[in-house]
């Protein structure tokens, strides 16, 4: 999962560890999120000191593993010094920042009201036991309000961020702007329906 806000150096990223039993289930959704955000999917989880370039952007980050856990790897991303006309020395203007995620929920919107929405939330991808909550739309970025619809999915993380010697708590709700259903997927579904009839006698 990734969240990004402007300016680009306020970028933090967490990866789902590939050793989770249900990781293969998660990959398609996450992959599409990355794709839709026109950010590149990280090619590997060992990002220690690896630099990668975000697709369609010129921003570059140096990443450093801060915390590795069974569910999440927290990665510290530091923006590379931007070259200016004055050609500053390497390292000038570099701001170190890292985030520690204390809680992460996945959510599905049940219904939306004028100023809030109600959602089911669950940890990881185990949707039992699920929880539910009512969240103010103020907690969602304005440009994402159009995604707050029944069936809309989001990720919600709570943690703290250490940047330049200061520490602050944060809560970020990020709605997935998933790609639309494709002709091929709908065609595959028709093929699957035929197989269901034949193999399971569901007809």
């Amino acid at each position: 999962m990734t969240t990004a806000t402007n300016p680009p150096e306020l970028f933090h990223l967490s990866l789902t560890s590939s050793d989770r039993a249900d990781a293969p289930l998660l990959a398609p959704v996450f992959w599409r999120v990355f794709q839709n955000d026109t950010t590149a999917e990280p090619q590997h989880s060992a990002l220690d000191r690896a630099a990668f370039e975000l697709a369609n952007t010129t921003a570059q980050y140096v990443s450093e593993s801060v915390q590795k856990g069974p569910l999440l790897n927290v990665v510290h991303l530091t923006s590379l010094p931007q070259k200016s006309q004055n050609e500053k020395e390497p390292g000038a203007g570099l701001v170190r920042e890292h985030s520690v995620i204390l809680q992460q929920w996945e959510g599905v919107v049940l219904f939306r009201e004028d100023e809030s929405f109600t959602a089911r939330i669950f940890e990881g991808y185990q949707d039992f036991p699920a929880k539910r909550t009512k969240i103010s739309l103020q907690e969602v970025a304005d440009e994402q309000h159009e995604l707050v619809l029944p069936g809309g999915t989001f990720s919600w993380i709570i943690g703290y961020r250490i940047r330049g010697g200061t520490r602050s708590r944060f809560s970020e709700i990020y709605f997935r702007r998933l790609p639309p259903w494709t002709k091929q997927e709908l065609k595959d579904a028709k093929t699957a329906a035929v197989k269901i009839s034949e193999e399971a006698g569901w007809s």
Binding site: Q103, L186, E199, A200
Partner: protein
Amino acid sequence: VRKLAGPDLSIPPRSDEVEISVFGPGFGESIVVHLTGGEWIVVDSCLNAQTKEPAALDYLQKIGIDPATAVRFVISSHWHDDHIRGIGKVFEKCESARFVCAHGLEITQFKELIGLYSRYFPVGGSGIREFTKVLSILKARRKTDSGFGPDFVSEGTMLYQRDPNARIFVKVLSPSSAAYLVSLARFSESLLPKEGQARSAVPYLEPNDLAIVLTVKVEDARFLLGADLEEQGKADLGWQAILDKFAHTDTAHQGFKIPHHGSVTGHHKEVWPKLMNEEAWTVLTPYIKGKKPLPEKTDVERITAYCRYSYITAQRAITRYRPPDSVVQRQLREMGISIFEESSKQGQVRLRKSVSQSNSDWTVEMFGDACDLSDLLQSAT
């Protein structure tokens, strides 16, 4: 109805005792029925919040029943998350059972929906996942001689009849023929996405016209399992359709699993005078989904006004959840956000009646968080 003192969960019913046990946490419902003679049916599934196992299997195991041989039917009354969670495992363990679902789910659009979401949208609901598991079991069983496809049932289907004199049977009262047509249109218009449409979790299909309502008769015992069937005030749909077709033949039920968690949307005022016995008992399960937990106070007042013996499987549909991390707690507090758990409280209401003695009483036992429905009114005051 006689309330047993010192209930003991582990005592199985005698061979001549009919039993209906209703399980329900804050989110979910499951029912097991003993049809006497060691034959059982399971209607819907929910998970035990502690063991994370299907409540029906947990219970059968506790009373020493082998689901592989004893369960005749596993019935999915409808495919909402709160009625289907764990039904794949239930069907897997009930090796000799047939799988039953509503006429209407055999349509191509439903199969396409399963094919689409099981492959391309693996989060956000258990309905598709459970049906996918059921399909894989059906597929495996079809490779053996004992394999059958599912039974698609609708109004009037005699699902089970033990004897030619119809002393013991399970009959389907819903869904109606009209419900099939309405749902077919809904599947095409609302559920199955179209090319270019924004991807989201499977939308909730409401109102639920395709719910399977059952009337169960075992000798002189008779009860009605109302699933989540709602009433919309339309002829040929919901409870009106049942009243129109069965009010003259399927009457005098001694018990009623109240539909739709006691919501007024599942209430039809003619059901009580036309289908129920005056001294009937009722059981319901709580639910949180919408803006208010069910049953609401007005629902409890309405139901308890109709009958003296009303029970609910869990006192509270929701309980407050506190995240373990104090920083997270502080953040939520500052945001003014409360989080509630769906399934932390679970209970069971068990009713039994001997059918070898005429006019024997029903006995009721309550386990876990179950209580008299009227207790909810007292706790609210």
